[in-house]
């Protein structure tokens, strides 16, 4: 009996000391209100906590719409967690502002990750994503056949003339309310994410990426002016609507209102459910090659974390293919690695969404990698909305470039 008591006491002590040895890591995530995402991230955390005895991750989730403001407030109050997630294009701003520290993980493990999933700022890795998103020109094979259009590929995308001829043909057919759904009902980050690749495909950009110190020439040069005129023409000539009912964005393509829809892979399964002959075409080449946006939510370590090695250990743990595949199955985005893609029916070779992997790998361009992007995105959004609604293209782009330049100057060049 005595021996039994001793053994029981020892066992309890061992258990208690093991439990005490786990250092708690706090983590913030943007998925509150999204049942699927929360379930997935909680599974990763549960597995990680059980896999070792050094660290224990505790999650606080935030609604996505309020997440960035919460992080900024947390940073001001000196109350950031150890691990946080960050929307890819915002990462340079948070790194520059001192909210994040470089992420020290075994980089051989991310060698085969899609380029858009790696958050690199100032030559250092700060964040890494488990998935990426991609945009395609969604239409139906029957539409292509009916209009007598060639099916473009990523290696032979439509030229600008072919794209406009396709829109003309759709318009002439008179079968659809508008030839093209650009998703104008979505505001905010959709504009720079979805539309700046058109500008880049013309040869312009939101900011001059060679220095990141000016938008002059990039946002208001000849290529940008050509883009602006083309963009305005889409609305002026009745190819697309400048203002759109959100319901039409969600269900307009499925309801047969649009011949083509510029939309993300997160909406692809819905389109396939509506029309089994849905095809996802690559972005058109408007002169400087086909381009789409890249970079979605990524994980990083806060600058104030006292346990960066623990935080990095968790992030490295989460990069396993099985989690990449689970997230992809759950939320429909592209797994970060080819091997994880092969584990997902939608994205494996021959899968209905596999073209998105190719588009992401071959045509994706991350948004400007600069702390000033958070301001530049808003300026760009306003300029494009104004041009769509008929303002003078040159004057609008000049004003946008001036506003971006003033912000860069005010912030001392943002460390570039």
């Amino acid at each position: 009996m005595k021996v039994f008591k001793l053994a029981a006491s020892a066992a309890i002590l061992c258990w208690a000391s093991a439990a005490q040895a786990q250092t708690t890591l706090s983590m913030w995530y943007h998925g509150a209100g999204n049942e699927v995402e929360l379930k997935l991230i909680n599974e990763v955390i549960t597995d990680f906590n059980a896999s070792q005895s050094d660290w224990k991750v505790e999650l606080q989730s935030f609604p996505q719409a309020a997440y960035n403001d919460s992080v900024v407030a947390g940073a001001l109050a000196g109350n950031l967690p150890d691990i946080l997630d960050v929307d890819g294009p915002n990462m340079p701003n948070w790194a520059w502002a001192g909210y994040m520290q470089p992420l020290v993980i075994d980089e051989s493990k991310i060698a085969n990750f899609l380029p858009g999933t790696k958050g690199v700022w100032d030559g250092k890795l700060y964040s890494i994503g488990l998935w990426d998103a991609a945009v395609a020109l969604v239409t139906r094979q029957s539409t292509l056949d009916e209009l007598g259009l060639r099916k473009p590929t990523v290696d032979a995308p439509w030229t600008k003339d072919e794209f406009m001829a396709a829109l003309d043909a759709a318009k002439a057919a008179g079968k659809w309310e508008y030839p093209l759904d650009l998703g104008m009902a979505w505001t905010g980050e959709w504009y720079p994410y979805a539309f700046s690749p058109f500008l880049q495909s013309f040869g312009g950009d939101i900011v001059d990426r060679s220095t990141y110190k000016t938008a002059e020439g990039a946002l208001n040069g000849d290529a940008a002016l050509a883009f602006g005129e083309w963009w305005q023409g889409l609305f002026k000539n009745g190819y697309a609507q400048a203002t759109q009912d959100p319901a039409d964005r969600d269900g307009g393509f499925a309801a047969g209102k649009y011949a083509f829809s510029w939309n993300g892979n997160w909406a692809a399964l819905g389109a396939l459910a509506a029309f089994p002959d849905t095809v996802f075409l690559p972005a058109p080449d408007l002169g400087a090659g086909p381009k789409i946006g890249a970079a979605s939510w990524q994980f990083g370590v806060s600058a104030t974390s006292k346990n960066p090695q623990g935080a990095a250990a968790f992030i490295e743990f989460a990069l396993q293919d099985k989690y990449l595949a689970a997230f992809s199955n759950g939320i429909g985005l592209i797994p970060a690695t080819p091997s994880a893609s092969e584990m997902v029916d939608n994205y494996k070779a021959g899968g209905p969404l596999s073209v998105f992997v190719e588009y992401s790998a071959k045509t994706a361009l991350v948004r400007p990698v600069t702390p000033g992007y958070v301001v530049q995105a808003k300026v760009f959004e306003k300029a494009l909305a104004d041009i769509a609604n008929g303002t003078d293209v040159a004057a609008t782009l000049d004003a946008a470039a001036d506003e971006i330049n003033a912000d860069i100057e005010k912030n001392g060049g943002y460390g570039h």
């Binding site: 509150a32 209100g33 609604p63 309020a66 109050a77 109350n79």
Partner: protein, 292 residues
């Protein structure tokens, strides 16, 4: 002649009721739209939104959006938090601000005019201008609780309550109301030897029902609708109020039926509180000219 006069009176009455009825409809329709929409699936909700069906319980009616809202977010926690924070703040605010108003009006002390002016000047400061300094301050303040002394008020109820107990507008409302109370009552009580505390408790407060109701309703609305401050100071879900909780429903594809169900649920406490106090509120507006 008397007949014509009666007819005129009837016409005037009918016109008045027609105008009031129209105004009532304008004010009630958004609420009806909200509740009716909360009972419909998204597709029907969007289809109905362009016509009168939006205000009628027609089509595929169910409570599915309410069930989904409870699954998406801890609605009961958010409502409890908001009611608790709002209720405590309103009670403490009525106590502190009425006492301050009493001191400004009835007690003769040096500098009260200047201090009242400074207090009123705070009314022109938007909260957004002081939010960040307040955040920096509360993040480092001490607090004595069950765990002893801790530093920083973040993620707590008191960080949502204490900064909002006293405010210039509520004090001003009490000052204005107290100025209209008969001064003879106070002087008589002083002559009889009553202390300031007794006068406040036994004479002034019992006469202040309308202004207490007005101040309570105005404070209730401000507190219940708080968004920016709780967003900044509550990183833990367990302390979040209803307005922060609303953001849980704005995912990439918004489920509008769930949004309407959530809004219907969180509107109930506000309506109940207003209906409970509306008589006194209207009496106060009529007597002081205060507009809500």
């Amino acid at each position: 002649m008397a007949l014509i006069s009666a007819d005129n009176r009837g016409l005037r009455l009918a016109t008045r009721y027609a105008v009031l009825g129209l105004i009532a409809v304008i004010f009630v329709f958004p609420l009806v739209f909200m509740v009716m929409s909360s009972l419909k699936p998204d597709q029907q909700l969007l289809q109905d939104s362009g016509n009168l069906r939006a205000f009628l319980p027609v089509g595929d009616i169910s409570l599915n959006n309410y069930t989904a809202a409870f699954q998406r977010a801890p609605v009961a926690t958010f409502v409890f938090n908001s009611v608790l924070v709002t209720g405590v703040t309103v009670l403490l605010s009525l106590l502190i601000c009425s006492a301050a108003g009493f001191a400004f009006v009835f007690v003769n002390w040096k500098g009260r005019g200047v201090l009242l002016s400074i207090l009123l000047a705070t009314l022109i400061l938007p909260f957004e201008t002081i939010a960040i300094p307040m955040l920096l301050m509360v993040a480092h303040l001490p607090w004595i609780g069950t765990e002893g002394i801790t530093w920083g008020w973040l993620n707590s109820y008191h960080v949502q309550i204490i900064p909002f107990i006293a405010d210039g507008l509520t004090v001003f409302l009490f000052v204005q109301y107290f100025k209209d109370l008969p001064g003879e009552l106070i002087e008589a009580a002083r002559v009889e030897g009553a202390s300031w505390g007794q006068i406040y408790r036994r004479i002034v407060m019992p006469l202040s029902g309308p202004i207490l109701a007005t101040a309570a309703i105005l404070k209730f609305l401000v507190m219940y609708n708080q968004y920016l401050w709780p967003l900044m100071v509550t990183q833990e879900e367990g302390y979040r109020p209803v307005m922060v909780g609303l953001q849980y429903f704005f995912q990439l594809n918004v489920a509008w039926g769930e949004v309407m169900a959530y809004l219907s649920l969180i509107t109930v406490p506000v309506l109940a509180f207003y209906l409970y106090l509306q008589k006194a509120f209207i009496a106060s507006i009529a007597s002081t000219g205060v507009k809500g």
